[in-house]
């Protein structure tokens, strides 16, 4: 291309590139804002439904402008079933997270630091507990829970929640421990610390972000679980998911109340997620991904 003025050619090329980049940016944000709308609109719709007085909830065309009221939430809180179910879920899920960490984190540490025979098979076996569809698992537990008087108890539900999350905790934490240099504990050992002290005082603090993120993920997976509540509880240990479901199942749906209950279930988790979103990626990706 030695025919025309080279400077002009470069200049026009640069201009083209700039326009193109601007176009790309516009297209990029258009798509991203479009997806933002897809994400937000259903949530907005749910929340706004929960804040409308029951008579206004289903009107079409919709009342875009309305006076928000907490009437539905007051109604909801006055239903002792809801409060009990919500409290049940908070207690059972939190307890399960503590237990699953107590069981899973030390095991992950051993898997990371020691030469375990058939380590790969052990890890796949652990993951296979997540491959078992809960519905296949729940039949045996239904029978055994009845035999052991664990049916419809909080302890029974905590056990089931632990079972959902254990493989996740072991896998994520193994990856995290792999990323923490062994020299850390060796130095502690040289200073006279026992193996356990080395783990507790040196390795655990270093793995804190991992523990944090895996705790949140475990909380979410237990919090949203419906099936175990459906099969293994009837009254005492009913989780909040089952409460919401029972609303859907009823013949005439009280939309406003249902919307309020669903919103009440979502809000705490959204707050959690947003608060820890920095750690979440590393946790979810089982540590394959280098932390940002």
């Amino acid at each position: 291309m030695a025919t025309s003025d080279p400077d002009a050619a470069i200049g026009s090329q640069r201009l083209d590139k700039e326009t193109r980049e601007r176009l790309v940016t516009v297209a990029r944000h258009t798509i991203l804002l479009g997806w933002s709308f897809v994400v937000l609109f259903p949530l907005y719709w749910l929340v706004s439904m929960s804040l409308k007085p029951p008579g206004q909830a289903n009107s079409l065309p919709p009342d875009w402008i309305f006076l928000p009221t907490v009437y539905n939430y007051i109604q909801l809180v006055q239903q002792s079933d809801f409060v009990a179910a919500f409290a049940n879920s908070v207690m059972m899920v939190s307890a399960s997270v503590v237990i699953v960490l107590l069981i899973g984190v030390p095991a992950a540490y051993v898997l990371s630091r020691y030469d375990i025979p058939m380590e790969r098979d052990v890890l796949v076996w652990i993951l296979s507990s997540r491959m078992l569809p809960p519905i296949a698992v729940v039949i045996p537990f239904f029978v055994i829970f009845r035999a052991l008087n664990l049916f419809d108890t909080r302890i029974g539900m905590v056990l089931m929640y632990v079972s959902i999350n254990l493989s996740l905790v072991v896998w994520v934490m193994k990856a995290f421990f792999d990323g923490i240099p062994e020299t850390l504990e060796e130095a502690a050992r040289v200073d006279g610390a026992t193996q356990f002290q080395g783990f507790r005082k040196v390795v655990l603090p270093a793995a804190k972000p991992g523990i944090f993120s895996v705790a949140i993920i475990s909380f979410i997976f237990a919090w949203i679980e419906l099936l175990f509540g459906l099969v293994l509880t009837s009254f005492e240990a009913v989780p909040v998911t089952l409460f919401v479901y029972s609303f859907i199942g009823s013949r005439s749906i009280e939309w406003s109340l249902l919307a309020a209950a669903s919103t009440a279930m979502i809000v705490p988790v959204v707050v959690f997620l947003v608060a820890v979103n920095k750690y979440l990626a590393a946790g979810l990706s089982f540590g394959v991904v280098i932390k940002e």
């Binding site: 991203l32 107590l102 030390p106 491959m131 979410i220 919401v244």
Partner: protein, 310 residues
């Protein structure tokens, strides 16, 4: 420090012995509870399902059980709708996995390329939010917005376009389930892919840019190969979890209309609790277990774990 009395010394040695026991066998203590729980939640259900699937009625005295062979399996596949529910499940799993992977990757790539740090943070936080929505709440949202009488989406379609809105829950229930799951779980793929993209070394991308490789080539030849382990783990985990799908379908359509959205998990639930066919439910569960575990193990063996292990 005063000299310890005799009892104190004795106590200390007992304690000391305990402490030695604790420290010398630390890996065993650390592993034992996990192994115990794992045995309980993997071997026991499988074995018990197998037992239920080949006996007439469950009894606590295993030796009194009446063995009926493969009768429950036959019932499951002839009258139990097992085959249909497997087809439905695989349709949902494959379509949702494909949609979520593709969408998650595109969104992650688009957000990763945003220049302004603040906008980047905004999108990243916003896009993970649907993950916080429990499937049962999602079923609420679906029923609320797609309802043919009071739903906003059919209303908007009918008023804003000349199209007639389908009745989402009765005419295209399977598509509705797939789309709702995509809304719910694309964030999972997004966040993992986003982290994966940010871990691709800049120098690698820069080098191919200098070589004049166009955008798509950079992705196909540099970025995606580098991210292979991330893509592998994300899709495997999502695949495993998709086979668990229950709540959203149970809340949205309860398997219906008819058996249009009767996933295997819904089918097993109905056989067990509606039809009281414990044996048939167990038989379907066994086939399901074998299928899912075998599939995942084949994938793990075939693709391997390069970059995932250590």
């Amino acid at each position: 420090m005063s000299t310890p009395t005799q009892t104190e010394t004795a106590n200390q040695t007992a304690l000391g012995r305990l402490r030695d026991l604790w420290n010398d066998y630390l890996p065993y203590w650390f592993m034992a509870p996990m192994v115990l729980v794992m045995v309980m939640i993997t071997f026991f259900p499988g074995a018990y399902d197998l037992y239920l699937s080949v006996i007439a009625e469950p009894t606590f005295n295993v030796f009194e059980a009446e063995f009926v062979g493969l009768q429950h399996f036959e019932t499951a596949f002839t009258r139990g709708g097992a085959f249909h529910s497997f087809v439905i499940t695989i349709t949902v799993v494959v379509s949702a996995l494909a949609l979520e992977t593709l969408l998650g990757f595109v969104l992650a790539a688009l957000v990763a390329g945003v220049d302004s740090g603040r906008m980047k943070g905004f999108y990243r936080v916003l896009f993970i939010i649907p993950m916080a929505v429990a499937p049962v709440s999602l079923a609420t949202i679906g029923r609320l917005m797609l309802n043919s009488e009071i739903g906003i989406i059919p209303y908007v379609i009918e008023t804003a376009t000349p199209l007639a809105a389908p009745n989402f829950l009765s005419e295209v229930p399977l598509l509705t389930v797939i789309l709702l799951d995509t809304w719910n779980w694309t964030p999972f793929m997004f966040i993992i892919f986003y982290a994966g993209l940010s871990s691709v070394p800049d120098t690698l991308v820069e080098a191919s840019r200098v070589d004049g490789a166009p955008l798509w080539r950079r992705y196909v030849h540099v970025i995606i190969p580098y991210m292979k382990p991330v893509v592998f783990v994300a899709t495997l985990i999502r695949l495993i979890d998709l086979f668990r799908t229950f709540g959203v379908v149970y809340g949205l359509t309860n398997g219906g209309p008819g058996t249009a959205t009767q996933l295997v998990s819904i089918n097993i639930y109905e056989q067990m609790f509606i039809n009281n066919q414990l044996g048939v439910a167990a038989a379907i569960a066994i086939v399901y277990l074998v299928l899912v575990v075998a599939l995942c193990n084949i994938i793990i063996a075939k693709v391997g774990f390069e970059g995932v292990w250590d």
